[in-house]
């Protein structure tokens, strides 16, 4: 029985190899070659495109991408943690309603949400008309990094709140009572009990925000106006316009590797935290 | 008890290079309550699963009413199983769970209704038809599992540690109920457990297994009073197992004592193991009146009796169960009747 059922997975294994493994190897292959991509026979081994990545111009792009993603993740954490905490402490009856209200916006196409900010922030947009009307200076952040950050925070904030909320709402109330029973005041209870217990949620929140933020090209394309190109914009350009697949592939591989490294680091933090928690118990 | 219903011949099962069931032979009669007893990993569940058709034997044959059962798939065997942790269908209510097998056999609707109702009555769950199985307590789920199997009127019911997940009190109640059911419907039960007390209370025949090998087959009394080797003695109940020498027929010796016994037929000076049950050791206050003298080291109250550890002058510890306690430190004598000493062939050291 077990053996016969096993066969059911084989078609998908073939599918996975064709559509998941082979494409990634193709990218890897193109990143290490040069020549005409339409004539595979003419391709030869080369690290040229990686050398190109190391040029200051492109290193800056990668640096900018990680910096913007890092800042937006930090803002999401600072804004999102209190939200998660407040919702988790709300009465049971309002809790799921609040959470639903919080999540409704992410059900709207994210291009539309970004587009909405375009109409708010543009030089002739609503915010500026409002500011001019009441005699305040105009807010000229779009196109620019500030607008990109705002777009990132807006789009990804729910992904920070959701996992933190899930962890916080699962904390046993008796644990908190135990803390105050043992003499912990509210601050101590928060820093020594709630915060450490919520680390797994924070870790997955950070991953869920950082990952799409670092690889986005839509937000920077629409709100940044191409002022500060990000790694996602570069990849898009190389594949769709410049038609330099070799360079685009190298950028993709670098992006992938850096993300895998940061995820490994995050899961290590998560694990360490859990182990320490285990010891404390 | 009647004809043979199940016969296992030279049955062997390996998982990888581990032999889980090693060349066992067993005959089970109609209407018999047989228990396969042993520690976990002894091969009892695997044996049961081979009878049920969930594992294929690597060697040997299984016969059911004289016919070879090996090539018949589980769903065509007229044998049903009560699984460990029940394996109820959680997407169906109680009625549908019990009716499952009958529906497959395309039995007419009103007949199904009648038989399920009868089963619910038998397991004392009338009125629970529409209930979701998840909403039932452990004991109730257990009853549904039994009803689901019995409603198909199997000739043999296999039960794989069916009471393992219940608390002690419920276990005891269910033991009695299961026994009543088995007596009233008159089918063969093959029961797997690692609980020796359960095995002794319920069975007609107990099959003690270890490391894939049958150690002893017998009535509960046989198994308890005359364990065939050190393993059985140690696994069934508490016992003092002592390495001794058979001096001659009816005389056995160890340390500095020579005791009378009722066993014969061993070679002169043959090394043996003897078993003395803790309740078979009597204590006398005057040490000189005892065959063995010793000092009481500890006393624990166990409810019905006291459990005392007594260390003899030669340094051997004896476990003794008595209803009267002797204070720690007192020097006493111990006596054993010849028929309370069970002499066994020396096996592998445990």
């Amino acid at each position: 029985m077990k053996k016969t059922l096993r066969i059911l997975a084989y078609p998908y294994v073939v599918w996975m190899v064709i559509f998941i493994v082979v494409p990634l190897f193709l990218i890897l292959f193109y990143s290490f070659t040069k020549g005409d991509i339409h004539d595979i026979g003419s391709l030869e081994f080369s690290v040229e495109s990686y050398k190109k990545v190391a040029e200051p111009l492109y290193l800056k792009v990668i640096g900018d991408s990680f910096l913007l993603a890092f800042i937006s993740t930090a803002i999401c954490l600072v804004l999102g943690y209190p939200v998660a905490l407040i919702i988790a402490n709300t009465d049971q009856k309002y809790r799921s309603l609040l959470m639903m209200l919080f999540l409704v916006p992410i059900w709207m196409n994210f291009l539309l949400r970004t587009y909405a900010w375009m109409s708010l922030l543009s030089p002739n947009g609503l915010i500026n008309r409002f500011l001019t009307a009441i005699g305040l200076p105009r807010l000229e952040i779009m196109p620019g990094n500030a607008a990109v950050l705002l777009g990132m925070v807006y789009n990804f904030l729910p992904f920070m709140v959701l996992p933190i909320y899930t962890v916080l709402s699962k904390i046993d109330k008796q644990v908190l009572e135990a803390s105050s029973d043992l003499g912990g005041n509210k601050v101590v209870t928060f820093t020594r009990v709630i915060l450490p217990l919520s680390i797994p949620g924070v870790v997955s929140g950070i991953t869920m925000v950082f990952l799409p933020a670092v690889s986005t090209f839509v937000i920077s394309g629409l709100l940044g106006g191409g002022k500060t190109p990000l790694i996602g914009d570069m990849i898009e350009q190389q594949f769709l316009f410049a038609r330099n697949w070799h360079f685009g592939s190298s950028l993709s591989i670098i992006l992938m590797v850096m993300i895998l490294i940061s995820m490994a680091v995050m899961s290590r933090i998560d694990k360490n935290n859990q182990e320490e928690g285990g010891k404390a118990r | 008890m009647g004809r043979n219903i199940i016969e296992l011949k030279n049955l062997t099962k390996r998982f990888g290079d581990v032999t889980v069931v090693n060349n066992i032979n067993l005959t089970i009669k109609e209407n018999e309550f047989v228990t396969l007893l042993g520690p976990s990993g002894c091969g009892k569940t695997t044996t049961l699963r081979m009878i049920g058709g969930f594992e294929e034997p690597d060697e040997g044959q299984i016969f059911f009413e004289g016919k070879l059962l090996n090539p018949i798939p589980a769903y065509k065997r007229n044998i049903n199983t009560v699984f460990q942790r029940y394996a109820l269908f959680t997407h169906m209510n109680v009625f549908e769970n019990i009716a499952f097998g009958l529906r497959i056999k395309k039995i007419p609707k009103d007949e199904i209704e009648k038989r399920v109702k009868r089963m619910l009555k038998l397991v004392d769950l009338e009125g629970f038809e529409k209930r979701n199985v998840d909403s039932l307590s452990g004991g109730q789920q257990q009853r549904v599992a039994i009803a689901r199997a019995l409603v198909n009127e199997p000739k043999v019911l296999l039960l794989d540690e069916p009471l393992g997940a219940l608390d002690l009190k419920l276990r005891k109640e269910m033991q009695i109920e299961l026994l009543d059911m088995q007596r009233s419907i008159g089918i063969t039960f093959i029961y797997v457990t690692h609980d020796q007390e359960e095995a002794l209370t319920m069975s007609d025949t107990v099959v003690v297994m270890n490391n894939g090998v049958i150690q002893q087959v017998g009535t509960p009394q046989d198994i308890y009073n005359e364990p065939i080797n050190r393993f059985v003695a140690d696994f069934i109940g508490e016992s003092n197992i002592i390495e001794a020498v058979m001096l001659e027929d009816y005389k056995v010796a160890f340390d500095d004592v020579v005791l009378d016994c009722v066993d014969k037929g061993f070679a002169k000076n043959e090394p043996v193991d003897i078993v003395i049950r803790p309740e078979d050791i009597r204590i006398v206050t005057n040490p000189d009146e005892g065959m063995i003298k010793g000092t009481v080291k500890s006393v624990i109250f166990k409810g019905v009796h006291y459990e005392m550890m007594i260390e003899s002058d030669t340094g051997r510890e004896y476990m003794v169960h008595r209803t009267i306690a002797f204070p720690v430190g007192s020097y006493v004598g111990m006596n054993v009747q010849p028929f309370d000493i069970q002499v066994m062939k020396r096996g592998d050291p445990l």
Binding site: V21, S96, G221 | T81
Partner: protein, 259 residues
């Protein structure tokens, strides 16, 4: 006092979340083409929307791809999960790690990788390649939803069915599939919403012949804004909102589905 602080904070956050959406909705009824000026109430943009062949076509592609990819990935994913569940520890973890790649990889990498594959083997980008791409990224989510249900299921349940006389295929249809149905449904819902919402992967794999809504919105937004998008946004948002309310009402586990 502390309560007030909390309320104000939540108020600001909700304002931040909903302001753009409300603006979009309000301006979808705005007569003036300018984004900053109120020119009176109109439904013209909604009428334009339905006249617009491009938008109708994009909507058609979006729904067709979503329905087909959900159907296919749910079936394939469930079958694959059944197989994976019965595998040895090692092969299972290898397969699951590969299966996780599309989940963990940035969409843009998945998108360009698939595009590279299609172009390398000379398959013209279009509807079929977009559909394949959607199936590629949906199946992993279906498997991730179904597998835990299979693991939770009592491992003897299939045996119990066969013990009672069910053939293996009857046991699969009448017992195992119904037992894991919640996982299959949430996997399918996940696949559907991911497909409807996807832009990046479609963008790289759809070519020019099959434009779905996301791609259309992107190109419209880049070119300059048409008020019809406002109308489209409003409609889509309303549909999603209504769907969510229905789902939430229908199931007590609404929260779970929502996530």
């Amino acid at each position: 006092m502390k309560k007030a602080v909390k309320r104000i904070y939540m108020g600001i956050i909700f304002l931040f979340l909903y302001a753009p959406i409300i603006v979009l909705i309000v301006f979808s009824f705005n007569k003036s083409k300018s984004r900053g000026q109120w020119g009176g109430f109109t439904l013209d943009w909604y009428v334009d929307l339905f006249k617009d062949r491009q938008i109708r076509e994009a909507l058609y592609f979006t729904l067709l791809v979503a329905v087909l990819s959900t159907l296919i990935s749910t079936i394939v994913g469930t079958i694959a999960a059944l197989g994976i569940n019965n595998m040895g520890k090692f092969s299972r973890s290898v397969i699951l790690n590969i299966n996780n790649l599309p989940v963990l990889n940035p969409d843009i990498v998945t998108g360009v990788a698939l595009m590279t594959l299609f172009i390398s083997v000379k398959i013209e980008l279009g509807f079929v390649t977009m559909l394949i791409a959607h199936i590629v990224f949906s199946i992993p989510y279906v498997i991730l939803a179904v597998l835990p249900k299979l693991r939770q299921m009592n491992k003897h349940i299939a045996e119990a069915a066969m013990d009672l006389g069910a053939t293996p295929s009857y046991a699969l249809r009448k017992v195992i599939i119904p037992e894991i149905a919640p996982g299959i449904i949430s996997g399918a819902l996940m696949a559907f919403t991911l497909s409807i919402d996807d832009f990046v992967i479609s963008f790289f794999t759809a070519g020019t012949s099959a434009t779905n809504l996301s791609i259309l919105i992107y190109s419209m937004a880049k070119r300059g804004v048409k008020p019809t998008i406002n109308a489209l946004s409003t409609l889509m948002f309303t549909v999603v909102l209504i769907l969510m309310l229905i789902i939430n009402k229908k199931s007590e586990k609404g929260e779970e589905i929502l996530l």
